[in-house]
């Protein structure tokens, strides 16, 4: 373990690596601290698959063009104004230059994946996904002399006013102080910290699944808040989607998504419907369903389809429950068969004739139900019947360090830190304070990682 470095980067995901690579290229000695062991390094970045890039003309993997203005409009739509316009525009404008830089640091791209409609224009996909990107950055970082420590958790920054002098870390039960000229906090949110999550979200969070790494403990986020840095958002804000309820508690990642809801009847544990399953296409509704399921008793939902709908959505990671009768299916899934069959019968009776078309909002709605299903409402009648269990899956938390355009961590009096910088999920709330835009998190991490690395090397 080094006892000093020009730049200490806290974290081991995309933003941390971009910061480390940039600081190293600017001539600084760089120490990167990854809390996770090597074989699960990379934070939530290893579960990602693309980033959203503005571009004026087609690139090797992006079609057509995507202007900064259009990108900004998309951002405003999902965040409903919860964004800092100057920082947002800075990120979006800088996104135009990212692809060549990433390629020069070993990242490979591929055409957009199947089943990801409408992203081929806006999002560049990493060949092999986020873990391959992480592998490439680590290999490049090793080659260029970035010092990397695994299983090394940063505990606190020692501050002298607004100046960080040392980072206290723990590795293999031992505690060290590392002197630094500048520090980059790129250690993500706190969704991997069960204690903090329960404190903020209540006991129901025990029934939530965390889609990403268990190593996002939010230690430095909390440390800097405690030491008085300016914050954005609050602890209770997080991005959730409805995912397969049989997924592992952590690190379920992309494969645990379930796209069955629009073609399903979804019941709660009492066997009652609670929301319009056919309101819109799934990509526009999965986040809403995360919250909806979180509000149900025991934070669980039961999606039921019949044989006709099985092939209409992406295959699931676990085989569905399957039975020839609804009663049997209910029993397998732990639902009261009587309540469940009653709900399905009422639903079936409320279905109306009409054309069923999974590829558009077909307007085939139920009548007289509360709530009605407003599209794709077709009776659940053809055995075998299939069932999936839904749980809320937490993608990330929004609580952020406030930063300025140089990635400096801000203080409540609106003055920046001398040498404390932040990048990635730990400051993403400055730009994406609410909602979610596919691929924007990685764009923020790459842009601000590079800014933080450059600034830390030059001005630390």
């Amino acid at each position: 373990m080094l006892d000093a470095a020009d730049v200490v980067v806290i974290g081991g995901g995309n933003a941390a690596l971009c910061a480390a690579l940039t600081a190293r290229a600017a001539g600084a000695s760089v120490l990167l601290l990854e809390h996770a062991p090597r074989n699960v390094r990379g934070g939530n970045s290893r579960h990602t698959r693309n980033l959203r890039l503005a571009h004026d003309a087609p690139t090797s993997v992006l079609t057509d063009s995507y202007s900064v203005d259009e990108y900004y409009d998309d951002l405003l739509k999902v965040t409903a104004g919860h964004t800092c316009p100057a920082l947002a525009r800075q990120v979006l404008a800088a996104s135009r230059t990212l692809q060549p830089w990433m390629e020069a640091h070993g990242v490979r791209f591929q055409p957009s994946l199947s089943g990801t409609l409408n992203l081929e224009r806006t999002n560049a996909f990493f060949l092999g996904g986020g873990k391959a990107l992480i592998n490439a950055y680590y290999a490049t970082a090793e080659d260029r002399g970035v010092h990397i420590e695994y299983e090394c958790e940063a505990l606190t920054l020692k501050l002298d006013g607004r100046h960080c002098t040392q980072v206290t870390v723990r590795q293999h039960e031992q505690t060290f102080d590392i002197a630094c000229r500048a520090v980059v906090a790129a250690s993500g949110g706190f969704q991997g910290n069960a204690t903090w999550m329960r404190e903020a979200w209540g006991e129901r969070v025990d029934n939530f699944l965390i889609r990403g790494t268990p190593f996002n403990k939010g230690r430095i986020l909390r440390d800097l808040r405690t030491q008085g840095c300016a914050m954005l958002g609050d602890d209770t804000q997080g991005h959730m989607v409805a995912i397969d309820g049989r997924a592992p508690k952590y690190d379920g990642g992309i494969a645990t998504r379930l796209d069955c809801v629009p073609f399903s009847v979804v019941l709660n544990q009492q066997g009652q419907r609670f929301y319009d399953e056919g309101e819109d296409f799934w990509p526009k509704r999965y986040a809403i369903w995360g919250r909806l399921v979180a509000q149900q008793p025991q934070q669980v939902g039961y999606a039921i389809i019949d044989a006709r709908s099985l092939a209409l959505f992406m295959p699931s990671v676990f085989p569905p429950y399957k039975a020839d009768t609804l009663a049997d299916l209910a029993q397998q899934m732990g639902l009261d068969p009587i309540a469940m069959q009653h709900s399905i019968r009422s639903f079936n009776a409320a279905c109306q004739p009409g054309a069923f078309d999974p590829d558009r909002l077909d307007g085939r709605a139920t009548q007289g139900l509360s709530p009605n299903k407003t599209n794709w409402a077709r009776p659940i009648s053809e055995p075998p019947f299939y069932g999936y269990i839904l749980r809320p899956g937490v993608t990330f938390t929004y609580l952020s360090l406030k930063v300025n355009e140089r990635a400096q961590v801000m203080w409540p009096d609106d003055h920046p830190s001398d040498n404390i910088y932040a990048a990635g999920e730990i400051m993403a709330g400055n730009i994406m304070g609410q909602g979610y835009l596919a691929g924007l998190g990685m764009t923020i991490g790459t842009v601000f990682g590079r800014i933080a690395g450059q600034e830390a090397a030059q001005h630390g």
Binding site: F125, L310, P358, D359
Partner: protein
């Protein structure tokens, strides 16, 4: 999407579900493991850009034994998907496509072996099989040479005329039938693979009449085979032994394959010389058969030695200990065949020529004998899998 196509898509899927339920293999077999893993991969799909396996996989929702055999033989073991996998160990999903497919592939070669009772040859220790066989053959040849002319066997022949020791006719009479049998047996295995796969592996997403016509598919499959496109990732190579990409394995396989083909060309031109022009061996160093054989032999030595070296560097998690013998035995056999061939050429005017000839021909004959029950068959099944891929998968 039109209602009819939608309907067909569902019909296909239901048939597959039923087929799968009827033939569900017991747990803990390579099939069961491959089935479990493909279900996870099919819900993720991050690896679509690495090779043909994943675009092929997305055409199915359920994976029966024949579909899995097809995918396993389509897999080139490049390991791109392993090092990129967020679900690899220590993740509880324990996804390991290359190792699982490696084992399933080996099992499929047993299943398709002809004649059927020879399947057990795959399960045996490859190194032992090859070496014992090589020695046996060498002894046979030494014996026959000794019987013919004992002092002559240990003499030097100024012109290196090995046919003075083993006449051309004897060589052809022994090697010819063995080689033809090997080709036939491999053909029967390939035929069984193709026929069994064709019956059930019609992908759900393929529209009626959507098959790519024969010739372009054949040309694409040939191109993929000859260029090893599937070992090139997206142009940067594959993962030989770490997260880093390299072209080593692809280039070493090229050396091995093209070296082998050059040796084959040497034999072919030699045969042509003999029968068409009456030019009898031994040929001059700068004659076509000798140039082909020399360059081919050197390439084979480099390729096989390099592949063996890479194999030694393979991470434990990607190894299949039970297959080690078969995999290394075949590499060793190719290496020794070409090495003894080169030695024979350069020492053909010395007194060691007779012995070297016997040893070399022993290896050659062994190679021919074990060909249909060695790793060589991967070429047959891989090519057919690529052909199926290009026929079934829309570009």
């Amino acid at each position: 999407m039109a209602e009819t196509t939608q309907h067909m898509r569902i019909q296909h899927t239901l048939q597959q579900v039923e087929a799968e339920n009827q033939s569900a293999p017991p747990a803990a077999t390579p099939q069961a493991e491959a089935q479990r893993i493909m279900q996870i991969c099919n819900a993720c799909r991050y690896c679509e850009g690495f090779c043909s396996v994943f675009p092929a996989m997305t055409q199915y929702r359920h994976f029966n034994a024949d579909t899995l055999d097809y995918l396993a033989n389509l897999c080139h073991n490049c390991r791109g998907c392993y090092y990129a996998c967020q679900y690899a160990e220590p993740h509880e999903f324990k996804v390991n496509v290359p190792q699982t497919f490696n084992e399933l592939r080996a099992q499929s070669w047993q299943d398709y072996a002809w004649p059927g009772f020879m399947a057990r040859a795959f399960a045996g220790n490859g190194v032992l099989l090859s070496l014992v066989c090589a020695l046996a053959m060498a002894i046979v040849f030494i014996g026959s040479a000794l019987l013919n002319d004992l002092p002559g066997f240990f003499s030097a022949y100024p012109d290196g005329n090995f046919h003075a020791i083993i006449p051309h006719g004897v060589m052809v009479a022994v090697a010819g039938p063995v080689f033809l049998f090997a080709l036939f047996a491999m053909g029967m295995g390939g035929w069984a693979f193709w026929a069994r796969g064709a019956a059930v592996s019609q992908p759900a997403t393929l529209r009626p009449g959507g098959k790519n016509s024969g010739l372009p598919a054949l040309l694409n499959a040939l191109k993929d085979t000859l260029t090893l496109k599937n070992l090139s990732g997206a142009g940067h190579g594959c993962n030989d032994h770490s997260e880093r990409f390299s072209m080593q394995r692809r280039y070493l396989h090229h050396a091995t394959f093209y070296g082998f083909m050059l040796c084959f060309a040497a034999t072919s031109t030699g045969t042509l010389y003999h029968y068409a022009f009456g030019w009898e061996a031994p040929h001059a160093y700068l004659s076509l058969p000798v140039i082909f054989g020399t360059v081919g032999g050197v390439l084979l030595c480099i390729g096989t030695a390099g592949l063996y070296r890479l194999k030694l560097k393979t991470e434990t998690s990607l190894r299949s200990p039970a297959l080690w013998g078969m995999e290394t035995g075949f590499i060793a056999l190719l290496f020794l065949t070409s090495l003894t061939g080169l030695l024979l050429l350069f020492l053909r005017e010395s007194a060691a020529m007779g012995t070297l000839l016997a040893v070399h021909l022993g290896f050659v004959l062994t190679l021919f004998l074990v060909l249909p029950y060695s790793k060589m068959v991967h070429g047959v099944y891989r090519f057919l899998a690529l052909l199926r891929f290009h026929r079934n998968t829309p570009r």
